[in-house]
Amino acid sequence: MRVPSPVRALPAGALRLAFGLFEVPMRALQRLLGVPRIGWVFVAPNLVVLGLFTFLPIAINFWYAFTGGAQLYPGERPYVGGENFAILFECTNHLDPSTCRKDLFWRAVYNTGAFAMLQVTLMVLFSLVTALVLNRKVLGRGFFRGVFFYPVLLSPVVVALIWKWILQREGVLNALVQSAGGAGVEWLNVSGWAFSWTVFVSIWAHMGFYTLILLAGLQAIPAELYEAAQMDHASPWRRFSRITLPLLMPNLLVVVVLALIRAVQVFDEVFVLTGGGPGSATLYVVQFIYQTAFAESIRLYGIAAAASLVLALALLALTLVQLRLSRRAVEGGAGARDA
């Protein structure tokens, strides 16, 4: 016969006492609200936190987007209707930012679009290749997994400062180039270079996270499938295209959509690395919002709030696409396995 030890018995007794204390008010609440509504009591703390720190700021943002002036207090701001949105979208030709009233907003939109396309494509590609390599039995596999994941742990500001130190005119990279007999390059002062480096640095900083997701997906693929394919003399490419890729698709979709959302929100690394320059070559939408609302002496909160709503809509669309695609992928994957 097992006798409960006093150490085990004590917490159990304490727990019973604690629950007993809650029981009386909970029973009273249940009588008052009824069984179907008692669930609200349990989610209330979360609702309060979300309401205060998420929904209330969203509501305030809406108010700012429809008011003008440079005042901070919502009550002091005059209602202007859709004027801020009209200003943002006022263009002779939307494909040419220089014809737009808020040319910097459109430059930021196009820069963000180009950045997202390039960064996400390369990020997914590099993450996939890295995950495939790290999934094999290579020497020092644990070490390399750590190396690729390490930048993810760094603060974006630290990442940007490290790369600024490397890329500045008298930086490490130019020192290497010059020691090899080449001429130094203004890596961060030439538009094309600066843009390319923001893409590269962003990939370097976040690739480890996506590699990890893909690695988890690869390890979930049953080894028997590969063994069976090998017995059928399937080529490595065939094994990859017929087994790995289809079964990895749900993870790949998650990676693509997460990377896309994150790319659209890019700010901190680029802000520290290039400040949006040269000119506005690396000005992205979030920095435009920040600059308009906080970095100018006369702060156009209304324009910034309107731009942030436009960005929110874009992110909402991307999230809905992710939900739909991942649902389809899960259903498709389940169907394939059932078959």
């Binding site: 220089s98 002062n189 538009s191 400040g275 320059g277 000119g279 100018e296 002496s297 156009l300």
Partner: protein
């Protein structure tokens, strides 16, 4: 037990608010201003045992970006060291009732008190200039000597300086002839020398022919390699970037900045090369830069206005103010202290540089004083840095940049006036 708990609760509530007799001063340093203020605080506290002064040292960026939001939200320190003197004026506290001799303040700081007043008709005392600054060029004298090129005289034009410095840069194989801080304030001083009036007949900010003439020169100098493109074109927005490192590393012959850099020049350049400050180059609008500076301003949100007034009164007293100027190597805004002279304990080059800046205070263009005292002057300065930066980076033509500056000014002033 209950009594102790209640006492602790009350104590924690009380300490979350400002204590009676405690004032917080938000301070940023160009050189050692906060450290010197801290020294003076000790003396003030020994004379005023009922007041405690806490200095919060912050980076300049916090003063530009965080402080305005804090103040708009009714938060922030009791006193702050600021440079946007007119732009933040609606948050200032009039300390006239709390200073011993308001007339002495008016007599000593009359010229600069109006920069902090929210309206021209206002007569309040809102703060004290901790430094008066004047923009002007620093020149690498050693490079001129090595190149055997005579330095242009005190009435030389910008074009003459550009030609001379280009000659020096070529002879000494220095990459750039001239550099301006990336700042609309610095550029506007030079533009006024080219005849810019900055305001139109109705008193609104305007981009006139003088401004355009300087913009054209500046744009050309950046495009032809007289100036390093990365200073203005290398960053985005209206971000401030100085060209000090370029000058200190001997990569630029002439550097347009201002008197606040003297201490830094002395400290960092030392004996590496000889440098001098020369009078502002001339043009149709005269030989002018722009005045400016930083001030300790009293803020309305304080719970201890009397103590704030006492502390600023202490700092503004002649002896303390003179000591502050001497230890921070700054130009005094107090006429009494300026008249007596400041006993700077600095190297001869720095002393002579400060002398040149002080000598220009009286001869700056009236337009320069007008724009410095204008509440929305940053509606001109910020777009100037941003748009000229874009033009220099090759993103837009100079004409487009000038049109954009006008549009940005209109938009910002309109929003601020709503």
């Amino acid at each position: 037990m209950l009594r102790t708990t209640v006492a602790l609760a009350i104590a924690s509530v009380v300490t979350s608010f400002a204590l009676a007799g405690e004032i917080r001063v938000q301070c940023y340093s160009d050189g050692n201003e906060c450290e010197v203020t801290q020294e003076l605080v000790k003396r003030f506290e020994s004379q005023n045992a009922d007041v405690k002064v806490l200095i919060d040292k912050v980076p300049y960026k916090a003063v530009l970006e965080t402080l305005p939001v804090q103040l708009a939200a009714g938060e922030g320190p009791d006193i702050a060291r600021v440079t946007d003197l007119g732009g933040l004026s609606r948050y200032y506290l009039d300390i006239t009732p709390y200073v011993k001799d308001p007339k002495a303040w008016e007599a000593n700081f009359g010229q600069t008190l109006k920069w902090m007043r929210p309206t021209p008709s206002d007569k309040g005392i809102y703060g004290m200039m901790t430094q008066l600054t004047v923009t002007g060029p620093f020149v690498n004298k050693t490079l001129f000597e090595q190149a055997k090129v005579p330095m242009p005289g005190p009435k030389a034009t910008w074009d003459e300086w550009a030609a001379a410095t280009r000659q020096v840069a070529k002879a000494t194989q220095v990459p750039y002839a001239m550099a301006f801080d990336r700042s609309g304030h610095r550029f506007t001083g030079a533009a006024i020398s080219q005849g810019a009036k900055v305001f139109d007949a109705k008193g609104n900010l305007a981009i006139d022919d003088g401004f355009k003439a300087m913009a054209k020169k500046f744009y050309d100098w950046n495009r032809d390699g007289t100036m390093p493109k990365e200073v203005w074109g290398g960053v985005g927005g209206s971000t401030y970037r100085d060209a000090f490192e370029e000058f200190a590393n001997g990569r630029v012959v002439l550097y347009l900045s201002g008197s606040w850099q003297v201490a830094r020049m002395e400290k960092q350049i030392g004996r590496n090369f000889d440098w001098v400050v020369v009078p502002n180059p001339c043009g149709p609008g005269g030989c002018t830069g722009l005045p400016g500076g930083a001030a300790f301003v009293a803020l309305k949100r304080t719970k201890n206005p009397k103590d704030v007034g006492r502390f600023l009164d202490f700092l503004a007293s002649d002896a303390v103010y003179a000591e502050y100027m001497a230890k921070t190597d700054n130009i005094p805004a107090s006429t009494a202290v300026a008249k007596k002279g400041v006993d700077y304990n600095i190297a001869p080059a720095a002393k002579s540089a400060l002398g040149v800046f002080v000598g220009q205070v009286g001869s700056l263009s009236p337009v320069a004083y007008e724009i410095q005292g204008y509440k929305y002057n940053r509606a001109l300065f910020n777009p100037t840095a941003q748009r000229l930066g874009q033009a220099v980076a090759g993103e837009m033509t100079l004409d487009d940049a000038l049109k954009r500056i006008s549009a940005d000014i209109d938009e910002q002033v309109k929003a601020a006036s709503k």
